[in-house]
């Protein structure tokens, strides 16, 4: 495999609240190679979106601060860049697609203006060349009659079309890394299927490294090569998708996979995960999942498990897998 596009090392992002300091991202490390998709899975508050915002250095300041680690994009540490340098990196080298296209598009500007803006900025285009490039770009994300859509405003498009426009803007450079944060959550199922297919095509065409944030394990199974499961700010298990779905190591990963109803299985009861999501301001000592873990041991409540490499590229933070 070629060198990683993005290499996140021991990233730590803290949020200061009046209830204390929350470790929203706690010692997170991963890499993504060109053409590879990493799924970032976890429930709300697990730190997956905060990890992505930390890569772009867009964490909500002053409450949130990146307090440690490195974010290495093609050999350069983004955490050492000036804000001005970051502005040339965002969008151009690292692009992001968010859940709600309406919050990514400006309602008072036409689609054409919004698509032309990054093209002009990144490629120095203007006039007719710029317009024709914008038309090509819209066509490449599967928007029919793109020339006439340039004059449309976001509210005149359907949700699926809006998200395609956002996709067009994201690949305008094209970037090296594409971060997709729940890009299909607001879309209908059949439109989601179309959009996932589009992302696959774009990734292949530009050999994008992709980070796909989702809580939908079906999307992970379909889209991702590797997956990192987050819980309370930490990656509790990471590895190849096939391996993790076939033989999950961490009890949380296992429970997540078992708790989801599956088509064609007529089990009367679902295997529920007991308890409530963790309160990040009051995490227990030791492993954060221990209060809900069906296989909890004394050690879990006392000591935090380290990252244990189980197989090549497959690691977990769980005492069950510690060498005796």
């Amino acid at each position: 495999m070629s060198a990683a596009v993005i290499d996140v090392r021991n990233l730590k992002t803290h949020i200061v609240t009046r209830w204390g300091t929350i470790k929203a991202v706690d010692d997170v490390s991963f890499t993504v190679a060109p053409g590879e998709t990493l799924g970032l899975v976890g429930e709300s508050g697990s730190g997956k979106s905060m990890t992505c915002l930390s890569i772009l250095r867009l964490v909500p300041r002053p409450a949130a601060r990146i307090v440690g680690g490195a974010v290495i994009l093609d050999g350069e540490d983004l955490l050492e860049k000036s804000e001005r340098e970051m502005q040339r990196i965002r969008g151009r080298r690292v692009a992001m697609i968010l859940q709600d296209p309406m919050s990514s598009l400006n309602p008072v500007f036409s689609v054409g203006m919004q698509v032309r803006e990054p093209l002009a900025g990144y490629h120095g285009l203007s006039g007719r060349a710029l317009r024709s490039r914008a038309v090509d770009l819209l066509a490449s994300v599967g928007i029919s009659s793109p020339a006439s859509r340039l004059a449309a405003f976001p509210h005149q498009l359907s949700g699926g079309m809006r998200q395609r426009v956002v996709g067009a803007m994201a690949i305008a450079a094209p970037p090296r890394l594409l971060i997709a944060d729940e890009p299909t959550t607001s879309l209908d199922l059949t439109i989601q299927a179309q959009y996932l297919r589009l992302l696959e095509e774009l990734q292949e065409r530009y050999r994008l490294a992709m980070i796909f944030v989702t809580h939908n394990l079906g999307i992970v199974a379909k889209m991702c090569d590797r997956v990192a499961v987050m819980y309370a700010g930490r990656i509790v298990e990471a590895g190849p998708v096939e391996e993790i779905f076939r033989a999950p190591l961490h009890p949380y990963t296992r429970a997540l996979l078992e708790s989801v109803p599956r088509l064609g299985e007529s089990a009367e009861w679902l295997t529920a995960i007991e308890g409530q999501p963790p309160d990040l301001a009051a995490l227990p000592r030791g492993c954060a999942f221990a209060p809900r873990c069906p296989r909890v041991m004394d050690r879990c409540r006392a000591e935090e498990p380290p990252e244990l490499a189980i197989a090549p590229g497959h690691s977990t933070r769980c005492w069950l897998h510690a060498p005796a």
Binding site: E43, S44, S158, G160, M161, D188, L189, T190, I191, Q192, A193, Q194, R197, H215, N216, L217, G218, I219, A221, K222, V241, E242, F245, Y252, A255, L256, L257, S259, V260, P261, R262, L263, G264, S266, E268, W269, L270, T271, A272, I273, E274, Q276, P277, R292
Partner: protein, 333 residues
């Protein structure tokens, strides 16, 4: 002959008039729900699936009597709602309750949980203080919350616990039918199974019926006895849940369930990706409403709207399955 179903909807229709143009002189009609028929049996769950604009929420709002139907008829325990008097309607409203998607929006942040759960009781029967407290305790226990939960405010609970509170409130008047409109989609993944199990357990213990609306098809298939698939205001397929989910007949159902991604990194092959978008319910396509996106489209589909008819043990509205003689029915009974 079996006893009357708990709820029976016949040719239920809801049209919304949209005023458009200068001074609102032109009116367009949105056919949100167009002549659908279904039944909900006592103690059973009807799952309603379909994408935005298909009419599933409008259907539930007609059942909850938030929207009056434009035409068609709902019968509850055999009696048509249109003919009910005030007392009859009061009884109906007590018998049909709802749990909505967002437990952050559906609970009053300034009321204590005991007051939220007890409110329907106070309005309904004016019980004494002791009686009320006993019933609230019972309801909280039913949904797995401790008694002290009653003294707290909604913000002191997580999403899953809040949904339990909403469920307790819905159960306060011992309803016979509960409309569940996306009851788990706002919850964390790790909590959804808890709530689905709770709903399943309550149905077994109390014998209530559910109208279950969700876009998570696997969850609908898991919870439902019968599934009805809607597209642009019409039911296109309806039948036993496992049959519809695993052996869908209508091309739309097939595409929909194929888009419900399996949890299997190997099973990516037989995916059907529909082209095009969902047409506006303002101007549904002529003939079969799905023909603009269907890969099996025939000339006939553009012209004639296929009726819902029996096909291998379920109802399908599609010209791919020609109607057998004498089997033509539009309602299941």
């Amino acid at each position: 002959m079996s006893p009357a179903p708990l709820l029976e909807a016949t040719r239920l229709t809801k049209h919304f008039a949209l005023r458009r143009g200068l001074l609102g002189r032109r009116t367009d009609i949105v056919r949100a729900v167009d002549s659908i028929s279904f039944t909900i049996e006592a103690g059973q769950t009807l799952g309603l699936v379909g994408e935005s604009g298909c009419g599933k929420t409008t259907t539930s709002r007609m059942i909850l009597r938030v929207e009056p139907p434009t035409s068609g008829d709902i019968r509850f325990e055999g009696a048509p709602l249109a003919a009910l008097d005030r007392e009859g309607l009061r009884h109906y409203r007590r018998s049909v309750q709802a749990v909505f998607q967002d437990p952050y929006a559906s609970l009053d942040p300034r009321m204590r949980v005991a007051a939220i759960v007890g409110e329907p009781l106070v309005i309904g029967q004016r019980p004494t203080g002791t009686e009320l407290r006993r019933r609230v305790r019972e309801l909280l226990d039913l949904v797995g919350l401790p008694e002290r939960a009653g003294r707290l405010f909604p913000h002191e609970f997580s999403g899953g616990q809040r949904q339990r509170i909403a469920i307790a409130r819905a159960l306060a008047l011992s309803p016979k039918l509960v409309v569940l409109d996306e009851p788990v989609s706002a919850l964390d993944v790790s909590i959804r199974a808890q709530i689905l199990n709770l709903l399943h357990d309550l149905q077994r213990r109390l014998g209530i019926s559910y109208l279950f609306i969700a876009h998570d098809l696997a969850a609908v298939a898991h919870m439902s006895h019968t599934i009805a698939v809607m597209y642009l205001g019409r039911i296109v397929e309806m039948g036993a849940a496992a049959e519809v989910a695993l052996r869908p007949k209508h091309p739309y159902t097939q595409a929909l369930f194929s888009a419900a991604l399996p949890l299997d990194p190997g099973g990516r092959s037989e995916e059907i990706i529909l082209s095009g978008e969902i047409p506006s319910p303002l101007t549904p396509p002529p003939g079969c409403r799905f023909h603009t996106r269907c890969s099996h489209v025939m000339d006939r589909c553009r012209r004639d709207e296929p009726p819902l008819h029996t096909e291998s043990g379920r109802l399908v509205a599609c010209h791919l399955y020609p109607q057998g003689e004498g089997m033509r029915t539009t309602a299941s009974r």
